[in-house]
Amino acid sequence: MGKTLAEKIFDAHRVDMPFPDTHVLKLDRVFCHEITTPIAITDLMARGMDRVFDPTKIKAVIDHVTPAKDSKTAEQGKIIRDWAKRNEIKDFFDVGRNGVCHAIFPEKGFVRPGFTIIMGDSHTCTHGAFGAFAAGVGTTDLEVGILKGVCAFHFPKTLKIVLEGALQAGVYAKDVILFIIKELTVNGATNMVIEFTGPVVDAMSMESRMTLCNMAVEAGGTSGICYPDMTTVDYLWPTINEEYASKEAALAEFSQWISDDDADYEEVRTYNISDLEPMVTFGYKPDQVKSVSDMTGTEVNQIYIGSCTNGRIEDLRVAAQVLKGHKISDDVRAIVSPATPGIYSKALKEGIIEIFQEAGFCVTNPTCGACLGMSNGVLAEGEACASTTNRNFNGRMGKGGTVHLMSPASAAATAITGKITNSPLFKG
């Protein structure tokens, strides 16, 4: 019997199996942000163990509330900043150089096929887009990761999703993953790795694959995962070109990180998504999904484009394509947060920021802020937001607020009309 990609990564990283089905893996990366790391740091200090297993494998960023909005968030920033300095963590991204963790760490080339990665953030599953096993963990697992470079997991049962057909114009990775979560439900993949394969995934950019993997956790998944290919190599190339003689050499090495043909899957689901329409959530769970056509006309108060799900350059390009030459409705306000400084400058150079501004958007610095109602766009009681983020939980963007998750194209179209609307890019 062959092995899945996740099993291969486990086999290459297992350092102990102290109990049946307890796989202690060595970690290639421990990612840290200022919300879940400070309590790990203060606990390590209290235990007299203020050290790190390997400062080159730890990457840290301030991203959830930045610049600090009050004394408490300033203190969180200070704790992680001082800790990074004390422990000689060179890759620490402070105000001005910081971006949303799951956008900036791949952009910097910190994620590679075959890696094991943890972070105190549930959307760490995003990095599986590169053929890595990447799992969100709590602060205690993070603390042990920082100190010892290990983390314990159950066997990675894998749910394989084969996406056949081709996406219609105006339909994106976000629509695909919303459709999949609707099919799986919010706990349909609990304790499983979701492997995304098939011609639709093969044809996707890294940005789109990250959008797919990002929301694996919304179906309960431990990690999303895609097979590395030339698209992966092309994305990473600026950061790996000194390590490999050629792109082909990099691809040859990365190609060990795919599942065997006779791998043992927990379940295989095949969907032909050629007829898939743009999708949107209603209610308070990410599996409450309808087509945008069925929700057309639903009024919203705010539009938010950004986050680790959809704040990357291709997302901003699509939104700008819809917005160009239009103004947002007088009945709404709209916010865009490019996910990293790199994305922000690309968007500036391409004239995208100007399009957003002319349409009436507020352009913020890179931050997670509005997605979880921590800063930069909190909703008032009873308000609704058309959002490109990943969670529509009750009160997520502000107490008493509602969130409708959708693609950047749909969000931009909704900004223009003030009501949930299909983008003109979708001709279906």
Partner: protein, 174 residues
């Protein structure tokens, strides 16, 4: 080892998420104790009164997929600082479940039939629960009724409960 006995809070809903257990606006706190007043503040559940129902509780009994969503360990911490060290459910989200054991607390899965029975039999009365760690069973009782229910927890999770969490264990072994 922590204390695993006391009064039960019944939360009759599936998919109670970590934003409901502790909203993100409180994630700016840097001590666990500071989370105490905010437990379940955003829970949407008919009949639940956050100001009345949490006090003096030591256990939660709920339905499917408890703790879904964010990785925030603030959710188990908010339970912990309110004295709630054990949650019984049909199922848990992976990260929440592991966070509970990593803190030396119980997230125990029971069958749908068992959970249905507990809600039917006990949820309308003042009920207390005790986890007998040695015997791997739960004792649940109210004034006129008592049940003893066996449960299964893996070797790793039970070790974390006995040793008070993952940091001490990992420091000893790795």
């Amino acid at each position: 080892m922590k204390k695993f006995s006391g009064k039960v809070l019944f939360l009759d809903r599936n998919d109670i998420n970590t934003d409901e257990i502790i909203p993100a606006r409180y994630l700016t706190e840097i001590t666990k104790e500071a989370l105490k007043p905010f437990l379940l503040e955003d829970l949407s559940l008919d009949g639940f009164d956050v100001t009345r129902d949490i006090e003096e509780k030591a256990a939660v009994i709920t339905r499917e997929n408890f703790g879904c969503g964010s990785s925030r360990e603030h959710a188990p911490w908010a339970l912990e600082v309110n004295g709630i060290h054990v949650v019984l459910a049909e199922s848990f989200a992976r990260i929440f479940r592991q966070n509970m054991y990593n803190c030396g607390m119980f997230a125990i899965e029971l069958s749908k039939g068992q959970i249905d029975y507990l809600f039917e039999t006990y949820s309308r009365k003042e009920t207390s629960l005790e986890v007998d760690v040695e015997a791997s069973h739960l004792i649940i009782e109210t004034e006129d009724k008592k049940d003893i229910i066996e449960f299964k927890v893996g070797g790793f999770d039970m070790t974390l409960v006995r040793e008070g969490g993952w940091v001490g264990y990992a420091d000893k072994h790795y």
